[in-house]
């Protein structure tokens, strides 16, 4: 388990290099006074706070969520505000407390179960899938499970193979689960609120490295009844030459790649998936039909990944519209190495996305025709 909380110094949403070793400066967490900016951590904290105050049936359960203020400080201040009955510190018993959450959800409470990282959810995956996801179906609609499983997912920095896996593809294949992956603070707030209000089990995949990043935020987002639809992707940047789909941290990389590509005359459309399940096939396909090229980006393992599913979906629905083979960027097909330089090679970087986009535009080889 991670003993050290890491925060990153960021400026204006553009992350610094992810692999700085050694001491990290703990960024001041004061809410930015230049109005309308919020870190993802603040967004999640405020969303939890508002939902817990709106509905007394919502409670938070997990390791270190109470007195420690949250392993990544997401639940800071909630214990003082709501008391130990509603912010429950658990022993190290993922299977046990996840099952307890599911049992409580059967009876109309709305638990938010926090996993310190989603890697630990593997100890509880039986409950997430067999007793939460499948119950509404097995009981023919009698018993619904309004539970949220949340926590950081995917690679952090230098945490090794057992703490770095991305679970989007695993959970995304289960009927009966909704799987969300926010990127910005607006996503984090809106999707977490939607997840807590939702009557079905939701797996909410956050990203540890995004917690400290600030994003501009509009006034509507700060409203306590704000929420985003589950199952709808967002077009972060419009373009006409190539579609790049991504989720979670990779959206930031895709946006940077789009900036680089624009300088070279390639206009990339960046789609922030937001929802892995249900996957917004219509938005993806509409975009591909416009641009005729597709690059999928994800952090997880390539085989049976989210990119594979998007690729198949596009082939099924928009085959005639494709001008180039679909490019699939994913993490390396190895358990995450520890050494900094190897770790950098095992996770997609901005250059990889740029290269893939150029390949799909036939710009990468010397024989390529002009766009």
């Amino acid at each position: 388990m991670l003993g050290v909380i890491r925060q990153r110094v960021t400026c204006r949403g553009i992350p610094t290099s992810t692999l700085e070793q050694g001491m990290r400066v703990v960024a001041s967490r004061a809410f930015s006074s230049s109005a309308k900016e919020m870190t993802v951590r603040e967004a999640l904290n405020s969303a939890l706070d508002e939902e817990m105050s709106a509905d007394p049936r919502v409670f938070l359960m997990g390791e270190e969520v109470g007195e420690y203020q949250g392993a990544y400080k997401i639940s800071k201040g909630l214990l003082e505000k709501y008391g130990p009955d509603r912010v429950v510190d658990t022993p190290i018993t993922e299977a046990g407390f996840t099952g307890i959450g599911v049992g409580a959800a059967y009876y109309g409470l709305k638990p938010v179960i926090e996993f310190m990282t989603f890697n630990f959810s593997m100890q509880a995956i039986d409950h997430i899938i067999n007793s939460a996801a499948k119950s509404n179906y097995m009981s023919a609609g009698q018993i619904s499970v309004p539970i949220v499983f949340r926590g950081p997912n995917g690679a952090a920095a230098g945490v090794g193979a057992q703490h770095s896996q991305c679970y989007a593809a695993w959970y995304g294949s289960i009927p009966g689960l909704k799987v969300l992956a926010p990127y910005s603070s607006e996503d984090a707030r809106g999707l977490l609120k939607a997840a807590i209000r939702d009557p079905d089990p939701v797996v909410f995949l956050e990203n540890e490295l995004l917690y400290g990043e600030s994003f501009p935020i509009s006034a509507e987002t700060l409203d306590s009844s704000f929420s985003l639809p589950i199952g709808k992707a967002k077009i972060e940047r419009e373009g006409k030459d190539v579609t790049i789909t991504a989720f979670s941290k990779m959206v930031g990389y895709a946006l940077q790649a789009a900036g680089i590509l624009a300088k070279e005359g390639i206009s990339a459309e960046v789609i922030n998936l937001r929802s892995i399940r249900p996957l917004d096939r219509s938005t993806i396909n509409a975009s591909v039909r416009k641009t005729n090229r597709l690059v999928t980006v994800e952090e997880g393992f390539p085989q049976h990944g989210v990119g594979a599913e998007i690729c198949a979906s596009v082939l099924e629905d928009s085959f005639e519209y494709l001008d180039a083979p679909v490019e699939r960027i994913a993490g390396a097909d190895v358990p995450m190495p520890y050494a900094a330089n190897l770790e950098r090679m095992a996770v997609p970087q901005v250059e990889d996305i740029v290269r893939a986009a150029k390949r799909s535009c036939y710009r990468s080889s010397s024989l390529a025709a002009t766009a």
């Binding site: 099952g99 059967y106 409470l109 007793s131 209000r197």
Partner: protein, 437 residues
């Protein structure tokens, strides 16, 4: 005393080992501490004889110490003093008999239907263990929760799910309690608060603990008037699983209103309990976590009922969980596909003489509680009920093709709830463009 449990609230009791094995007349004796029999000496020897490789165990003392909390012990001593007190009234007796006979008749009919091809897949029958289900569940209110394993037909029936619905579910018809979508191993009923029906052993225990958590939460946070109790039924094999211990810990830690009922039928498919467990006395695991651990003869519905009353009342009062180990036996194999070759026929014969239904009948006859005719009337009524259930299930339609994709989500098309509180897919503007604020 060989009991080494850390006993803050537990007083170990030693058992008089001179009792006869054929204690089908055990019901007729009033309860006294010494009647808290678990395995008798002969049974222990029988088990050890079957597993000759476990030589260290053969040297253990062959009596089993039952342990009960102080309160239970005091109650027993009190009832000692008035030998004329019967344990049940006539009405209760008939209710218990009817419920156990329903369980037995239903399961026998299931076996018949399975061999005729009307039922399929995995079917796990409960014959022989009826005393545990009836003894516990008949003491519950409708709002109390029951969580079971794959051997859940009789738990559902005892809790009140109509036999017709259970039988239809087993036939895979749309009139079943889960519209045919759950099956034998996944009996759910919201109305009767049966929370399943889980195929993975140990999976139901945290779910039951969660239901107990809800009960406590409703009382303390939502300030509702709620004293509902959760019962978790599971077997001896489950007691080696990590989730069991995790939940014993948390239930005792948070004083949750739950009773953990171990149906120790000595066999986990073909794995004998003593071969799989370092310390086969499961009730001892309760005190290790700070809750009372009780061992009771699970073939005797009256004894089970006495212990159950105490444990359920304890939970209802908010004093926390209890672990009850019921020594019982399943007359049939693990499932209808199990050839059941590993169990010693002599062991099976022995337990057949301790059939809970016969035992109850004998008790009621000897104490002149009911007449033969009344019992026969119940038998007839239940047989007709079960026949009717089969006919109903037979005539019911199979699910329509469109039912395949239903019920995956509570929210009709899985797109969540919008800010106005309605399902998003019902909002006509939902499919317009990409998501904006």
């Amino acid at each position: 005393m060989a009991c080494s449990a850390t006993a803050q609230i537990i007083q170990p009791l030693s058992i008089n080992s001179a009792r006869s094995v054929d204690n089908s007349d055990a019901c007729t004796k009033t309860l006294s501490p010494s009647s808290f029999l678990g395995s008798t000496p002969r049974i222990n020897k029988k088990l050890f004889a079957v597993n000759k490789s476990i030589s260290p165990l053969a040297r253990r003392p062959t009596t089993v110490f039952a342990v009960s909390s102080d309160v239970v012990k005091e109650k027993k001593l009190k009832s000692n003093s008035s030998l004329s007190n019967l344990l049940i009234t006539k009405k209760e007796g008939l209710e218990l008999y009817e419920d156990m006979y329903l369980g037995r008749a239903f399961e026998d009919m299931c076996a018949q239907m399975y061999y005729r091809g009307k039922m399929f897949g995995f079917v796990h029958l409960y014959n022989g263990q009826e005393a545990v289900s009836t003894g516990f569940i008949k003491l519950l209110k409708k709002e109390d929760y029951v969580v079971s394993t794959y051997r859940d037909h009789v738990h559902s029936l005892s809790k009140g799910v109509p036999a017709r619905e259970v039988m239809s579910e087993l036939f895979g018809k749309t009139t079943g309690c889960c519209r045919g979508q759950g099956g034998s191993m996944h009996m759910f009923s919201k109305e009767h608060n049966v929370l399943g029906g889980f195929a993975f052993i140990g999976e139901g225990i945290p779910v039951a603990t969660g239901a107990a958590f809800t009960s406590k939460y409703k009382r303390e946070v939502l300030k509702e008037d709620c004293d509902e109790v959760a019962l978790a039924f599971f077997g001896d094999g489950t007691c080696n699983n990590g989730q069991f211990f995790e939940c014993l810990n948390m239930a005792a830690l948070w004083k949750l209103p739950i009773v953990f009922v171990v149906e120790n039928n000595l066999w986990a498919i073909g794995m004998s309990h003593v071969r799989a467990t370092s310390d086969p006395q499961i009730w001892k695991k309760g005190p290790a976590f700070g809750m009372p651990g009780i061992h009771v003869d699970g073939m005797d519905v009256l004894k089970v009922r006495e212990v159950a009353k105490e444990a359920i009342d304890r939970a209802r009062r908010g004093e926390g969980p209890t672990l009850v180990e019921c020594e019982t036996y399943r007359f049939r194999g693990h499932s209808l596909a199990d050839p059941d070759e590993l169990r010693d026929p002599a062991e099976k014969a022995h337990y057949a003489t301790r059939d809970p239904i016969t035992a109850l009948k004998k008790y009621m006859a000897e104490n002149k509680l009911v007449s033969e005719a009344e019992l026969k009337a119940i038998d007839k009524k239940i047989d007709e009920l079960v026949e009717d259930a089969v006919e109903f299930a037979d005539k019911s339609p199979v699910p329509a093709r469109s039912q395949l994709l239903e019920n995956v989500f509570a929210d009709p098309r899985g797109f969540g709830i919008g800010p106005n509180g309605k399902y998003r897919c019902e909002d006509p503007k939902f499919t317009e463009g990409t998501a904006q604020v």
